[in-house]
């Protein structure tokens, strides 16, 4: 199914099941003439949560947006290098960025529900992706997504209420449900709890742990405790002297936090820099 959705020419672009879900090779992003990130090489394994941490301005979000071609929407951003999704180069000419975004979903820093009902927010992705569902099928899909996003019990009686009537934490879980509804393979989260209170944050972290078997999750955070709590792997990014974001360390979260190899990582996670 993923093959069909992503590849315009399936005989040329065939996703492989082996290996990393996403592999990044020599990735760099330029805004105008200035590099924001450079020389990023990284693999994301299936059904793992990878946290990307680093001080503000190190290019974490820029990097994340490369993985579903959201940087295409920023006119001055230019992406160099390669990003492979299950073996397919998503920056190849024959790949449609719109299709990439249906397999690599995204949740943003601030909850951004659409100004419509709770139900229509979740069904939006299904609607725009052009698959026709009966009313009942649509309801089941929406319900599934809301259950996975741990929001169903709170909203099941008011699916027609406007999404803005929900609290901030609920809105963010709605945005996660919305992303899950289109049945993606990878989910990118860009500091999803930065605007939320601790209880809402805990709920989201918990739900990420619950769904991580089905999805490959990549979460950008500048909250190191969060990275330690939720992730299996951690990537540390840091700006160099020219303020170009670089990947300085990557490994299992436990190792990064207990036994970092790079001095800068140690300084960062112990709070000496950043």
């Amino acid at each position: 199914m993923l093959t069909k959705r992503l590849a315009v020419q399936p005989e040329i672009l065939r996703p492989s099941d082996g290996g990393a879900v996403i592999e990044v090779k020599n990735l760099a992003v330029k805004y105008g003439n200035k590099y924001a990130i450079k020389d990023i090489n990284l693999k994301f394994e299936r059904s793992q949560i990878t946290a990307i941490i680093g001080p503000s301005g190190c290019g974490k979000s820029t990097f994340l947006r490369c993985l579903n071609r959201m940087n295409d929407l920023i006119p001055e951003a230019k992406v160099e290098g390669k990003v492979f999704y299950r073996g397919i180069d998503i920056y190849s000419d024959s790949v449609d960025p719109v299709a990439v975004r249906t397999v690599v979903g995204m949740v943003f820093q601030r909850p951004n529900p659409f100004p419509m009902s709770i139900f229509n927010n979740v069904s939006f992705g299904l609607k725009v992706n052009g698959v026709k569902f009966t009313k009942q099928e649509m309801y089941e899909k929406v319900k599934d997504a809301l259950i996975k996003a741990a929001l169903w019990d709170e909203v099941k009686d008011r699916l027609d209420a406007p999404a803005y009537s929900l609290s901030g934490g609920q809105q963010q879980r709605l945005c996660i449900a919305r992303a899950l509804a289109v049945d993606p393979d990878v989910i990118l989260l860009d500091e999803p709890t930065v605007s939320l209170d601790p209880i809402s944050t805990a709920k989201i972290e918990q739900l990420l742990r619950q769904i991580c078997n089905e999805y490959t999750i990549i979460i950008v955070t500048h909250n190191m405790q969060q990275a330690a709590r939720v992730s299996d792997y951690t990537a540390v990014m840091m700006p160099d002297e020219q303020m170009i974001g670089r990947l300085i360390e990557f490994g299992p979260t436990k190792e990064i936090f207990t036994n970092p190899r790079d001095k800068r990582t140690e300084d960062y996670i112990s709070g000496r820099i950043g």
Partner: protein, 296 residues
């Protein structure tokens, strides 16, 4: 023991001048407001004083006549209705499409700047110029004659900058976060426009369009060029009929010496003003409803 010392600062000339200005500024501003309001009030009072007695349904039900007791502006009222209504059908789709293009779809920045610059200029062109363009291009060029459709297109092109600018501004108010949220779900640009941008910006576009309509309804100059001063005693039945509009009827009556016609002109102005008021009120109502929905 040292107590509190009250510091007395001697005011310099500069300080005193500042103080005077502080007091004088609101007075000056209030005078400006008063002058503006009294100008409008003077207009309204004279018009109502002169015309109130002539206000009756006959004013819009009767055809013009040489006898002021029977005269009405039925043909002008219908003419205005047709031309202005059709002009909205010209300016709204074109203006909204151009606004969408300028704010969302164009990727060619220099061309966009060029178009924006020219639209801004177009908004400042005297309306009579649009009348001349309509006359040469539509009346003679396309052979539409001095018809309703020629008048409607002229008014439509005249109000196009207004509709375009408000549509472009409306599109710009749609938050990036909403658009990106939709893109991240695999929506195409057309879908983002259709499901996110348009529903969100349509009320503001409508407000701009209504203001454009209320400008078109009061225009006399371009219509005078297209249709000429006419004495029409029948209802328009097709868009290729000749026509006249309310401002021209008012102009016609004002230019007559008899007091009775002056009074008729004032009554017609009252009708026109009430129409404008209703249009502007509906624009405000739409905006208000839109804002309330955003708070939800």
């Amino acid at each position: 023991m040292a107590g509190t010392v009250l510091e007395v600062k001697v005011l310099s000339r500069r300080d005193r001048l500042k103080k005077i200005l502080d007091i004088a500024t609101p007075v000056i501003l209030a005078i400006a407001v008063f002058i503006a309001i009294s100008a409008v009030a003077a207009l309204l009072i004279t018009v109502v004083y002169q015309g109130a007695g002539r206000l009756s349904l006959n004013l819009i039900l009767e055809y013009p006549s040489a006898n002021p007791a029977e005269a009405g502006m039925r043909s002008a009222f219908l003419g205005s209705f047709w031309t202005v209504g059709l002009s909205a059908l010209v300016s709204m789709p074109l203006g909204i499409a151009t606004g969408l293009y300028l704010s969302e779809w164009s990727s060619w920045r220099r061309f966009r700047r060029f178009v924006e610059f020219n639209i801004a200029n177009l908004a400042g062109v005297p309306s009579i110029i649009f009348g001349l363009v309509g006359l040469s291009l539509l009346t003679y060029g396309l052979g539409w004659g001095r018809s309703i459709i020629a008048g409607a297109f002229t008014l439509g092109i005249m109000t196009l900058p207004l509709v375009t600018v408000s549509a472009a501004e409306a599109v710009k108010t749609v938050p990036e976060a909403l658009k990106h949220g939709a893109y991240a779900l695999g929506a195409t640009k057309l879908q983002v426009t259709r499901y996110i941008i348009l529903p969100r910006s349509l009320p503001m576009m409508m407000t701009g369009a209504i203001l454009a309509i209320s400008r078109a309804i009061g225009e006399a100059a371009p219509i005078l060029i297209i249709s000429g001063l006419l004495f029409i005693r029948r209802d328009p039945v097709s868009i290729f009929d000749r026509f006249t509009v309310m401002p021209l009827q008012i102009f016609n009556w004002v230019s007559r010496p008899q007091v009775a016609f002056q009074e008729l002109a004032s009554a017609a102005i009252i009708v026109l003003l009430m129409l404008l008021l209703a249009l502007n009120a509906s624009a405000i109502a739409i905006r208000y409803r839109f804002q309330k929905r955003l708070v939800l």
